[in-house]
């Protein structure tokens, strides 16, 4: 099989005489995912794929082609065929010439041979995750273990050429004990068995924390949200920090400018593409711009909007190394930490609710940040510092801005979270938020 970088270089060479800008991104992977159902594997999925994305521009007209074809001559033929129609269009509103290449520094430690080795036989790793949950006395577990060995090459007509080889692991498990459940997740570049076991252990911990039920009336509560919930909510904030989200009307930052206060001063949130521990780490973006870590929010102040060259040009600034060819993206997110252990945070809460996990976050209005989300695992009512029972499924119905501003304490430990509801890998702590609006069905 040909190297990704060779394919990308051949594509760019074959197209650059006909277009003003050409970028070829070639990714290839060998991936295996074990899906666990009722404590046993329901399927093992494997992907052996190469995919190619080509960006071309001519006279400010742009086109992106994503192709699951790895034959450069076939790709060149298809792209050239699309060219004439492109020229009939009007110029793109969000265009800038591809940037001149600058020096980029590779990130060490993106590859873990243990993952490459475990691809064909992930049984022991899956078994370890399951066993640590069962050790907590749960009835059954469900989840996935996903291992990836991949390559990504980016070549541009301006002369940038870069390739990275990387591995990643994503593991999440949900443990059930009677009507209770607990959930935990982990995403990283390296296969650390202790962290995998912690996924099972923490899921089991929450599933077995109480067997009592509790009830509540709708209203304002102080709430501790776990790193899974923090990760889910800050993923929305990260998405809304993309300049394209702002331009397209999908952002509460439409109402703010850099320098505005948008959160409590304990909240800092960084885009950290160079954190080699997190699974989307990369040294260069999809335009070949070197990546760098940067604050999105720092001590409550909006510090950076995320740009590619096109959105940067549109908004009169410079790329932040976050391309996405059309849509700039955060690579990885990292939250600030506090000084409290998880027990200290619970003591600080005294009366309120602890939420282990959530899903189905939806917004009524991105500009206002009005949203709701539903808890889905241990949702614990705390009175006088003691867990008195599980509330079942409850709903946070509030504004994202309110939650950011009402955050009052952070845990001191960061967890590496990635799963279905936390697509952008996030290092997140536990977070205590005051006066969160909680609702309940009327009938």
């Amino acid at each position: 099989m040909r190297e990704s970088i060779e394919i990308a270089e051949e594509i760019v060479k074959g197209l650059k005489t006909e277009f003003d800008d050409v970028t070829a991104i070639v990714t290839s992977k060998d991936e295996s995912m074990v899906k666990i159902w009722n404590t046993e594997p329901s399927i093992v999925q494997s992907w052996i794929e190469t995919s190619v994305t080509v960006y071309i521009a001519k006279n400010r007209r742009t086109l992106v082609l994503s192709l699951s074809i790895d034959d450069p001559s076939e790709i060149i033929k298809r792209v050239k065929a699309a060219g004439p129609a492109l020229l009939k269009l009007e110029a793109s509103d969000i265009y800038a010439p591809l940037p001149e290449p600058t020096e980029w520094k590779p990130i060490e430690g993106l590859l873990d041979r243990a993952i490459a080795k475990a691809l064909d036989d992930p049984k022991d790793v899956a078994e370890a995750m399951i066993a640590s949950a069962l050790d907590r006395g749960v009835d059954r577990v469900a989840g996935t273990l996903d291992l990836v060995y991949g390559k990504r090459a980016v070549v541009t007509s301006k002369g940038f050429s870069g390739e990275e080889k990387m591995t990643s692991v994503e593991a999440y498990l949900r443990a059930f004990k009677d009507e209770m459940s607990g959930h935990w997740a982990y995403g990283a570049r390296h296969l650390d068995l202790k962290s995998i076991e912690e996924v099972g252990d923490k899921a089991g911990y929450y599933a077995t924390l109480t067997d009592r039920k509790a009830d509540y009336t709708p209203g304002k509560y102080d709430v501790i949200i776990s790193p899974l919930v923090v990760g889910n909510l800050v993923n929305y904030v990260g998405f809304m920090a993309s300049a394209a989200a702002i331009l397209m009307g999908y952002s509460m930052f439409l109402k703010y400018k850099v320098g505005d206060k948008v959160a409590s001063e304990i909240i800092s949130m960084y885009d950290v593409p160079r954190d080699h521990e997190l699974p989307s780490s990369t040294a260069f973006d999809d335009e070949g711009v070197p990546t760098y870590d940067k604050p999105i929010i720092e001590k409550g102040i909006l510090r950076n909007i995320l740009h590619n060259s096109g959105t940067a040009s549109k908004m009169g600034t410079k790329s932040t190394g976050n391309a996405g060819l059309i849509f700039p993206i955060p690579w990885n997110l990292r939250l600030s930490t506090g000084s409290l252990s998880e027990d200290d945070l619970a003591a600080e809460l005294e009366n309120g609710i602890i939420i282990n996990n959530n899903w189905y976050t939806r917004l009524q209005n991105y500009v206002e940040g009005a949203f709701s989300t539903v808890s889905r695992d241990a949702t614990l009512l705390v009175k006088n510092g003691e867990v008195v029972g599980d509330l079942g499924r409850i709903r946070i119905s509030d504004k994202i801005g309110n939650l950011l501003k009402n955050a009052s304490a952070l845990g001191k430990t960061l967890y590496k979270i990635k799963w279905w509801e936390v697509e952008t890998p996030t290092k997140a702590p536990y977070m205590l938020i005051r006066d969160v609006n909680i609702t309940k069905p009327f009938a």
Binding site: V44, I94, E127, L254, Q364, N365, Y366, S372, V374, R395
Partner: protein, 484 residues
């Protein structure tokens, strides 16, 4: 064949035989190609033009009682063999962790070749024509408002073709070709005094470029924006007391998708999706004896509706499709099955196995889900209501992972006073349990309308096109909340 496959049929059949020769007790190979073209516009300016071709094969094998899936876009004979081998090796290595072997139900499987017919080919829909539609809709939005501002509109038009050729070791051989069109518009209206309002409008169906005329998007968008401006500028809070609620067909469609379709997926009921997509309040022993709603509550799932976004005639396991009653006259009735869940339920598959693309395993999915219409006109639904609310559309919604506790926040909504629509209502919240909703249905409209969506499920996540719909409904008195 209705279309010429890029891949030699012989390679696909060889993949099936190769798996059997290497120890599989069952094998299937699905060639699957999705081609889509999209135009993204911000206001009346182009933001992006894209083409995506996703083409490859997905393989499933059962070996030593363990199920394996392999996907590759290397369409050579060696590439397909490699995907089969990976699926076999990895499934075999995990088989010691299985206590019970995976098996599929015996079915009458299809040998068929079908395609959706169209009046105007998607290939005749030029880029300029697509962009001009975006500009027309931008104008329609801006010319429809009087006092509000329109800071942002976003338009996305996508056309696609999905071609599949499925061969299984137990006799299925199905080739299909389905073209689709989808159109999405994001509109924000603002007022310095009243804040902002956001609406995402969607159109979608299977067919050709003629759909863009059939939908009359300029007229529909223009009419709706005029009404939304009134909601923004003149909207009042919903009543504090419990009132009858007339739920518009768009909201009804989403409700049945979330609270009848998803909980009736057999894989959820059995816990296969427990970690991610969740489980279900429905238990195996509830079929045909648990009452979830009034006798007016019937919800149907039907992949075979011509022109629908979720259209197919054979599922991705080769089973012939048919309509199914999920809820019938208020009773939980028939779950959605693939061949694995059907065996575990002791029944037959009803053809609900779908895969998003070649990289995806076929899992239990909805297609087109709708509340069965009744015989009330809209005026008759309103008749006799002294004070109530009509919730016509929504933005925010969610439901818990057992499909019981759900919330829908109205966007376009009106007070009902003395049997007639009155002032617009801003952001009324219907927060209700599944049983609470279906039990309150007291009158059902006669006009059935469908709405498109992309339904997400699976690990990794798969988004498949679906329709959901229904008529307008009247619910008995219920409390309403107000959005934050």
């Amino acid at each position: 064949m209705v279309n010429v496959l890029r891949l030699d049929e012989g390679i696909i059949k060889h993949g099936v035989d190769f798996a059997l020769a290497n120890g599989a007790s069952y094998s299937e190979v699905r060639y699957h190609k999705n081609v889509s073209d999209s135009v993204l516009m911000r206001g009346d300016k182009i933001a992006g033009v894209g083409t995506e071709v996703k083409e490859g094969v997905g393989v499933r094998v059962i070996v030593d009682g363990s199920l394996g899936f392999g996907a590759t876009n290397d369409l050579s004979r060696e590439g397909v063999e490699r995907a089969v081998k990976k699926a076999l090796i990895r499934a075999k290595n995990l088989s010691p962790l299985r206590k019970t072997p995976i098996r599929f139900s015996e079915e009458r499987l299809g040998k068929a070749d079908y395609a959706v017919r169209f009046r105007k080919s998607l290939s005749d829909l030029g880029l300029e024509e697509r962009v001009n539609l975006g500009k027309d809709l931008f104008r329609a939005v801006n010319e429809s408002v009087k006092d509000a501002k329109v800071p942002v509109t976003m338009f996305e038009l996508a056309t696609s073709e999905e071609e599949k050729y499925l061969v299984t070791s137990d006799g299925a051989e199905v080739h299909s070709l389905i073209p689709r069109v989808s159109l999405m518009l994001n509109i924000i209206l603002t007022s310095s005094e009243k804040g902002s309002l956001q609406r995402m409008m969607e159109f979608g169906g299977s067919g050709g470029a003629e759909l863009l005329e059939d939908w009359r998007p300029r007229e529909v968008v223009s009419d709706e924006v005029k009404r939304l401006e009134k909601v923004l500028l003149k909207g009042v809070e919903p009543p504090k007391e419990k009132v009858p609620l007339v739920v518009g067909s768009e909201v009804v469609g989403l409700i049945v998708h979330e609270s009848a379709g998803h909980p009736m997926e057999a894989d959820r009921i059995l816990g296969r999706e427990a970690a991610q997509a969740g489980e279900s309040f429905v238990k195996v022993d509830m079929m045909r004896n648990y009452r979830v709603g009034s006798d007016k509550a019937t919800v149907i799932e039907d992949p075979t509706i011509p022109g629908s976004y979720g259209y197919y005639l054979f599922d991705d396991e080769g089973v012939p499709a048919r309509p199914r009653y999920l809820y019938k006259e208020g009773l939980i009735y028939e779950a959605l099955h693939n061949r694995h869940t059907a065996l575990l339920f002791g029944t037959s598959s009803n053809a609900a196995a779908r895969a998003m693309n070649y990289s995806s395993e076929p899992i239990v999915r909805m297609s087109n889900t709708y509340f069965q219409p009744g015989d009330y006109s809209f005026e008759e639904l309103l008749d006799g209501i002294r004070l109530g609310v009509f919730m016509k559309s929504y933005m925010e919604w969610n439901i818990d992972d057992r499909r019981w506790n759900m919330r829908f926040v109205g966007l376009e909504a009106y007070l009902i006073k003395d049997g007639e629509l009155d002032l617009p209502v801003k952001n009324p919240v219907l927060e209700v349990t599944t049983k609470g909703f279906y039990s309150r249905v007291e009158a059902v409209g006669r006009e059935l309308r469908f709405y498109p969506g992309t339904c997400g499920k699976g690990e990794p996540a798969q988004g498949v096109p679906v329709w959901f719909g229904g008529p307008d409904l009247r619910l008995a008195k219920i409390g309403l909340g107000v959005s934050a």
